[in-house]
Subunit: 477 residues, 2 copies
């Protein structure tokens, strides 16, 4: 029997969910799958299965899957490892569309686990049942009312396909604070059946998804991943991939985590070269990259104009940009003399690129904004990277509200400029600055201004962004 | 006339300070030098100089430097650029020990500024007067009651020698939140006279200083910097250097910032190879490195044991360690079976290295701590890197106090282990987790547990730490 073809809605919008192995103890199940789904606001039919209970958290409990009267779209297996094969057979008999095997202890733990995983694989092959996992958290889909934890409900254009569940939760939360909302996410663990190409193919045609991030330890069919990635990119979606397990120890760790065969650096290098997908190294870089993709328009090239407070920080920013394959060209005399009108070089400022603007008492914000306008009109840079030092606003006799004022005018003006803008705003280091930085970050995220915690994270994401657009242009020719 | 030899106390513990160019407007001077020093708690004699005032902020004002009756140890020049040469002559005549030229607009701004800086240099050469700057913030010395801003008062074993003032302030503040307290810091700008080797030589003999960080754009006498660095290291002090201005655009930016001649990558590469000083790339890395130096004992080698929550994060941590020249060796069967007793591999955990420990309701902290003891006694790793996912404690039905409990037991136990420990604890992403992470960081800093925001920052600092100790051992042979 062949594998049944799945649709996006079977996974992300199931109309009914059975929880096989729900606890008969309501207090325990409150933080179990039934409680988590109820708390997340699942609106479909929810069937907790436990032979020892008649109700669970106020819902009718079923002694077994087959006693459930209607269709079950999605089943979650929360059972001891050895009970999984039988339960999977039951799901096949009941014609469940997708089974999420939450249970761990398969290929990732060694020989006995491998044998059990093989048993599962043969059931899948024989029956055609489709499964997510084992050893994973499953689906997060605010639109479908489904999640594996008390995660944010915002439904945005980002999607996440991940072999780590803890990492997926963290990425969703971290993204949420940065204005990146994952409308669809999946933690798929050992991927005995459904694998990254399956999810990627579904998302390639999803009109709600614009950015797709993947955390991959291993993939069974590399060619299919390649063509699925190419399909996404062809459909105008941006793909960001963290490929883990390419150092020797990393490979062993990946095997120990999801039983994955991680592949080689050479093979994956070729994959990235052929697809134009963006390669990142950490979960935080995934979010940084999505911020750049979502908030910044397409830069015309690699030339960065740097505007900020602090001379040394400007020098450091310049070097980081250059090391990450961006350019910080010196301005022409024309631009310099325009800048000299709004900032005072003899007052410790710089006009050569980087530009250092003061934060004087009156008109500081005006001078700051004027610098943006001059650079945007200069045709000498392709984007502006600006940095603000939260403490400078407090330390040198300034008022804390200055930072929020600067952010306020920046948020008003950046969309009117002809080139993209990104802000570096490190977290505050005093109770006072922490508070205002928090507010400033929230304001930027709300307005859609790309904001980063460090020069490295900003320059890495921007450099990747330029490369990604360059690659697309070449492909078009 | 030769340059007068300066002592550490002339710069960091001046008994009298004249402020040449104090404002006659009390409201303005409150955030000027007089107000800043009064606010910081300077206990010596303070002489504001302004011909238009009789008192400034309650202090007697002097019409000129020469009217001051007693000795002036330290003078701050806060004047228009063109008035600086004459003021410097006055300081020489009054036999001021050190002059801090706060004023900007010299070599960093172009030809006219360069001419003025040359004029200053010739006054220095002729009179032997010693100067800090121009174009800089000067001294921060809590023990001497001196600072250039409302910075922390803690007097710790760290020192900072910096060509950026804004960067120095940020580093001092950032360090403060991480348990790194700068007992002495100096922002020295264009370095027309006193340069990094001068400050380094003074600090080499300072018993209160154990760690010295430098931000250098250029240095006039490279050989002297080399021997001063070697002297520090010989005296048991650790030296961390951020050398800025080594890319083409960075070099130009440095010239525009402090008029520095930045040197070549090759020359500086040789400098680091010869001295064994630790090289870092950003201000944040300076603080990370000082945290590793101050909090971690000497690791016996590069083998890292990783313990934490989350499988994917463990894989990512492994790869980052390996990329940064650390090793994450798989554990022997003996260690694995010891670990299996405290964690359940079939419950989604890993025991191979990285180790994934669960955060169950009861005894989670005990299992977590047991893993540390097993690894410390194993002789299979030289240090432990542990990571906690702040949201895991909240998301998966856990209580927020779990994180603080885990941190609490960790803070109790890490000092009793035979190998060093470092913790990666990213900032929280929900209002709830932000609060508890803030508390956890404070507790770690207070207890002296090395804590980092990311795997990269931890692994970079630890890898540098090992290299630095390896270098020392080689030198000893």
């Amino acid at each position: 029997m062949g594998s049944r073809e799945l649709k996006l809605r079977d996974i992300f919008y199931p109309e009914s969910i059975a929880i096989i192995g729900a606890s008969s103890d309501d207090l325990k199940e409150k933080s179990g799958w039934t409680g988590t789904l109820l708390n997340f606001g699942y609106k479909g039919r929810l069937y907790p299965v436990n032979p020892k209970a008649t109700t669970i958290l106020g819902l009718k409990a079923y002694p077994s899957l087959k006693e459930i009267e209607g269709q079950v779209d999605y089943a979650i297996l929360n059972l001891a490892t050895t009970l999984v094969p039988k339960a999977l057979e039951d799901c096949a008999a009941k014609d469940v569309k997708v089974v999420h095997i939450f249970t761990s202890g398969f290929a990732e733990v060694g020989n006995e686990g491998k044998r059990l995983q093989e048993e599962i694989r043969s059931i899948i092959e024989r029956t055609g049942i489709r499964t997510i996992g084992p050893n994973c958290m499953g689906v997060h889909s605010p639109g479908g009312g489904v999640s594996f934890a008390n995660l944010p409900r915002e439904e945005g254009p980002a999607a996440l396909i991940s072999q780590t569940g803890a990492g997926a939760a963290r990425t969703i939360l971290y993204g949420n604070g940065r204005g990146i909302h994952f409308g669809k996410a999946i933690s798929y663990g050992n991927a005995v059946d459904l694998d990254s190409p399956d999810f990627l193919e579904m998302l390639a045609d999803d009109s709600k998804t614009r950015y797709i991030a993947l955390y991959i330890e291993g993939v069974k069919d590399g060619r299919r991943l390649l063509s699925a990635t190419q399909k996404c990119l062809k459909n105008g979606k941006m793909v960001v991939i963290l490929k883990a397990g390419l150092t020797e120890a990393g490979r062993e760790a990946a095997t120990s985590h999801t039983g994955a065969l991680a592949g080689s650096e050479q093979g994956w290098g070729a994959f990235f070269a052929q697809t134009g997908a963006i390669r990142v190294r950490t979960l935080e870089e995934i979010v940084d990259q999505l911020v750049a993709l979502q908030c910044m328009s397409r830069p015309g090239g690699r030339r960065v104009g740097i505007i900020g407070r602090g001379g040394g920080p400007g020098v450091i920013a310049t070097e980081i940009c250059e090391r990450l394959n961006l350019k910080v060209p010196p301005f022409s005399g024309t631009v310099r003399s325009q800048l000299e009108k709004i900032t005072t070089a003899s007052g410790g400022s710089m006009v050569r690129n980087p530009v250092e603007v003061g934060v004087g008492r009156i008109g500081a914000q005006q001078g700051y904004i004027e610098a943006f306008k001059i650079l945007a009109l200069s045709q000498e840079v392709d984007l502006i990277l600006t940095h603000l030092n939260p403490e400078a606003f407090i330390l040198y006799g300034g008022a804390p509200e200055w930072l929020n004022e600067s952010i306020g005018v920046l948020c008003q003006v950046f969309k009117t400029l002809s080139i993209p803008v990104a802000l570096v705003l490190p977290s505050g280091e005093t109770p006072e600055s922490r508070e205002i930085v928090q507010q400033a970050w929230a304001q930027c995220s709300k307005t859609g201004l790309a904001v980063f915690r460090s020069y490295e994270s900003a320059a890495t994401a921007i450099s990747n962004l330029v490369t990604c657009y360059e690659w697309r242009t070449e492909e078009d020719h």
